[in-house]
Each structure stands twice: as C-alpha cells, then as structure tokens.
C-alpha cells in the first residue's frame, strides 16, 4: 500500500518521530517486543494500586489483561500512554520502555507518546461533533492540513463503520448506537495511525452482537496494530488474544486496602488450559472472582 506508506512517512516527519515503525517479523522469527515492563508499581498518593508487574508486549499480537475488579489492570493499561499523568496524585515506579525508549524519562512528552499509542475507552466517548470531525480530530491536532476525506474514509473503513455512516458523515457522533459509537471511537483512534491500540474494556457497555463485531474487528486489524485489551470477560480474552496476563488482588493487612499484582503471563492457550499458578486456575475455571 504505497499510499499508506507515504502517509506514514509524512506523519512521521511532521511529528518528528523518534521511533521508526517496523514491519511484522517474517514467520519463524520471534516477534519483537513493543513494550518492556519491569518491576512496575503505580501509586495514587500513598495508596499502591498495583505492584510487581513485569511483562513484554509483542508486536502485532493481542495481549489481554484479565482479573477481578480492583486488580489494577486498567491502571496498568493507562501507564502505556501516560494517561495516569492526568491524575495529580498518580506516580509510576519501575521501568516501562517502548522500543527501548523509557516512557517515563523526563524528556519524554506524553503528547508525543499518545500520538503513537492510541486508546479506546470503556464507555464510548465520541465528541459532541459530527462523525467526520470526530475522526478528523486526531490528525488535525497532530497538525494535518488540507483535505482529510481520505484519512477519514480509511479510518472508518478500518473500523468497519464506513458502510453504515458514509451517507451521514455530517451527523453528530452521538446519534449513533452504542456499538457504532465504539467503532467510531476505534476509527478516531486509528485515524492518527498509531502503532499500538490500548482498549480498556471496550465492549463492557455493548450488547453481544456489537461485542462480536468489535472482537472480529480486533482480530482483523492486529496485522497493522499491536493491541492491549483489558477485559472482564474471560471468554473474550480466550477468543481474541494471543497472550494473557492474569492479575489479582491482595489485601494489605495494615491498611485493609487492595493492591493488584500480576500473577501469571503466558500464551492465552496455556493460561486457559494449563496455568502454572493455582490462583490463575481458580479464576479461569470460575472458582474465584
């Protein structure tokens, strides 16, 4: 796709990209790690929300974070695009590197991070703007000038929404159904041509049919993107993901507050059939959580 390539090169030049994009590794060659996480803990003030997370996220795979409520999986997800920076009291300890670049180095501008690491939220949150303007927002704030029709069409097609909305691009994004709104949010996220998509329980507000469409979409687009998804739904993790991280909570004896921690991280098949840790087995077989 030469058109795509030129657009990528153009966006890279405009953003002053510090990280070159890489093509998927050929079969047989180990997938390259996009994120390397080691010994991460996240605090809100004095409260430690999650501790001891070490894992690597591989390119062009879907990595699922599962676990009971309060286990820190969403908190962890928000570390990858510095979204926790929006909370005054949040603090991240440990190392998170993105293609070898320390994401929490003081020289790193979170705005640049978020342009290459897109996010889809739990509740569909389209802007109260037209469908077209929703999708064009990301490229515009990144400095894209001129006609964005092609970018908008490509992103909407990438999110499998184009056929449903092509005749009403000027209508408000809020006029769509819940499932359509979430696909609009996915289109909006991929319009900036990110390398990674973070999805925070993207289907929890949707009915089973809309959920199925989003899951199909994720599997379709993983050739182009690296996806990390937080989900409460174990079947969803089993259906779509390549690798799964299981988090759980432990109660701090002194403060009686819950801290999340990573229990086990492995291929999805292994997590759901022959997990190493008893806690994982109890969770995936439904005996706990």
């Amino acid at each position: 796709m030469p058109d795509n390539l030129t657009r990528e090169v153009r966006l890279m030049a405009e953003n002053g990209s510090p990280v070159p994009r890489t093509e998927p590794a050929p079969p047989g060659v180990p997938q390259q790690a996009v994120f390397d996480v080691s010994g991460v803990a996240v605090y809100y003030g004095d409260f430690r929300a999650v501790r001891d997370v070490s894992l690597d996220v591989r390119q062009h795979e879907i990595t699922a974070f599962i676990g009971p409520s309060g286990c820190g999986k969403s908190t962890m997800l928000r570390c990858f695009n510095r979204m926790n920076d929006l909370i005054d009291t949040a603090r991240v300890e440990g190392d998170i590197s993105y293609h070898g670049v320390d994401l929490y180095d003081p020289a790193v501008n979170p705005v640049e991070v978020r342009r290459r690491i897109g996010m889809v939220f739990q509740k569909p949150n389209p802007f109260p703007k037209s469908i077209y303007d929703n999708v064009a927002y990301g490229p515009k704030v990144a400095g894209a000038k001129g006609n964005l029709d092609d970018v908008v069409e490509e992103a909407l097609q990438g999110a499998a929404l184009w056929d449903e909305v092509k005749d009403r691009l000027k209508e408000s994004g809020m006029s769509l159904s819940g499932g359509q709104q979430q696909r609009l949010c996915i289109a909006r996220a991929i319009a900036t041509d990110p390398e990674v998509l973070l999805m925070d329980e993207p289907c929890s507000a949707l009915d089973p049919i809309a959920t199925g469409r989003i899951e199909d979409l994720m599997v379709e687009i993983k050739e182009r993107y690296t996806i990390i998804i937080v989900t409460h739904n174990m079947q969803q993790a089993a259906r779509v993901s390549d690798r799964t991280a299981f988090f759980t909570t432990e109660v701090n004896e002194e403060s009686d507050r819950r801290t999340g921690l990573l229990v086990e991280y492995a291929d999805t098949d292994k997590i759901f059939t022959t997990p190493d840790d008893e806690r994982t087995e109890n969770y995936v077989t439904g005996r706990f959580g």
Binding site: M119, F121, N125, P126, F127, V141, A189, T192
Partner: protein, 313 residues
Amino acid sequence: MTSLASNPTSYSLEDFHGSRSRMRKERIVRAVLFTAASTSIVISVAIVASLIGEAWTFVSQVELAALWTDGWFPRRGMYDVKTLVSGSLIVTVIAMAVAGPLGLGAAVYLSEYAPATVRKVVKPALEILAGIPSVVLGFFALTFLSPVIVQRLNDEATQFNIAAAGIGVGILTIPLVASISEDAMRSVPMALREASYGLGARKITTTIRVVIPAAVSGLVAAFIVAVSRAIGETMVVFIAAGATGGSLFSTDIFRPGQTMTAAMASQAAGTDQVRGAGLTFQSLFFVGMLLFLVTLVLNVLASRFVRRVRQAY
C-alpha cells in the same frame, strides 16, 4: 379500627381512610409552602403593575418631541431616552470587555489548569469579590480606577467618567462570569477530555476544541446573565459616572454620563419627593419599565441557553 392481624381477605373502605387529623396537617403544610412559593410571583406582578400605571401616564401625556432632545433633564421636561439607553449600553460594553476575558480566563484556569490545592484558595477569593457591596466598588472606581487608570490613558478625562464606571461594573461582574462559566466547563464529562488527550492533544487544544465547544451554551448564558447584571447595576455608575440630576447626550467615555439606573436613583435620592416639573416623577417609571423589559428578555434568553447545556451530552 379493624384489626390488621389475621384475616386479610375482607377489607372495607374505612380501613383505607387513615387519620383525618394527619390529612388536615398535610393540607396546612401544603398551603403554607404554596404561599411562600407564590409570594415572589405576587411581588413581581405587583412591581410590574405599579410600573405600568405610571409609565402609561408618562407615555400618554408626554410630547413625543421631548423624548428626542439634547439630553436627559427630566426636571426641565427634556426626556431624551437615547441618552440613558446609550449610556447604559456603553457602560455594559466596557464592563463586558473587562469581565468577559477576565472571567472566562479565570474559569478556564480554575476548571482545566488549577491543581486542587490552588482552586481551594482561588475560588473562595473570587466569591469574596462577589460579596463586596457595590457602593464600595463605586468609591473604588471613583478614587482609584478613574485617576490611576482612566486619567492616565487620557489626561483630558474628567474625574467622573463613564469609563471608570464601566470598568467598575466589569469588576463587579467578573465573579459572576467566572462562576457560571466554570460550572459549565466542569460539567463537561471527563471522558471527553480523556478522549482528546488520548489522541495526543495538548491541554490548550483540548480546552479550545473540546471543552469550550461542549460548554458553549453555558458560557453564553454566563455572558447574558452578566450583561443583564451590568445593565441593572446602579451604585457604581451613580457614584463614578458623575452626572447627577441630568446629562447631555454624549458618547465620550472620558466624560460624565448617565445610565437608566443612575437616572432613576439620582432623581429619587435624598428626598421623599421627586422634585421637578410635570412628568418628572412618571418618567422614572417609564425608565424602570424599559429596564425591566431589557433584563427580562436577557434572563429568558439565558435560561434557554442553560437548558440547552443540560441536554448537550
């Protein structure tokens, strides 16, 4: 009373009457509360009625030529309405030029930028500004704004001038603009900001392209309420703008001037009788009627916009 105990299959109507004295109390409570709620309406109607009577006397008896003369000198039978209306308009424009940017800037800062600790200090400080009596602000306008700011901008400005009065009214309305605008912006869901930040937008971009458009009806409402307040403000203009008994028509902001409110106050001040020939007394009701209509229209507009902001997302 039949027993509530064992047999639920046969009831008579009387079982459901309940206590009569309790029902009477309910009715009394409802009547008292209704009176409280309706008093304000009755008062509003009474005010309008009292205005209409005298205003009508004025309109029906005044010579039309007297409404378009060189100035507002009711004691001499010169009722030039445009002097007062333009005076009010100029004061309001100056006030909004001061309160609009400062109030909106304060609101954006408090809602989007200020850390919780700063907001805890700045917000009450703004509310203190809102609590300053307007007569105090009037003296501030006359003794500080006029010599220190206005006369420095234009050394031919008189001590009493419209500009100082306008700035004073503007200061008075800053807290109003800031507080309503901040409420409107804070009610924009956090999810919209997160969506914007998640796409790599900066804070200022998020504020200008997402938060302000989503809050725009609330911001317009803030502006309209402030305009309505500025038009109705009396004391600051009365003290700082200078023209007491009357005023020549003038659009020079560095000279004394007269607004609708100050015209009414200056005629009625210090005496139980409004002195002056002919229709002086009635003319004040006519001006009051005008003021009432202008602020009524503005308030209706504002509440429309506020209702829209609630529907937006």
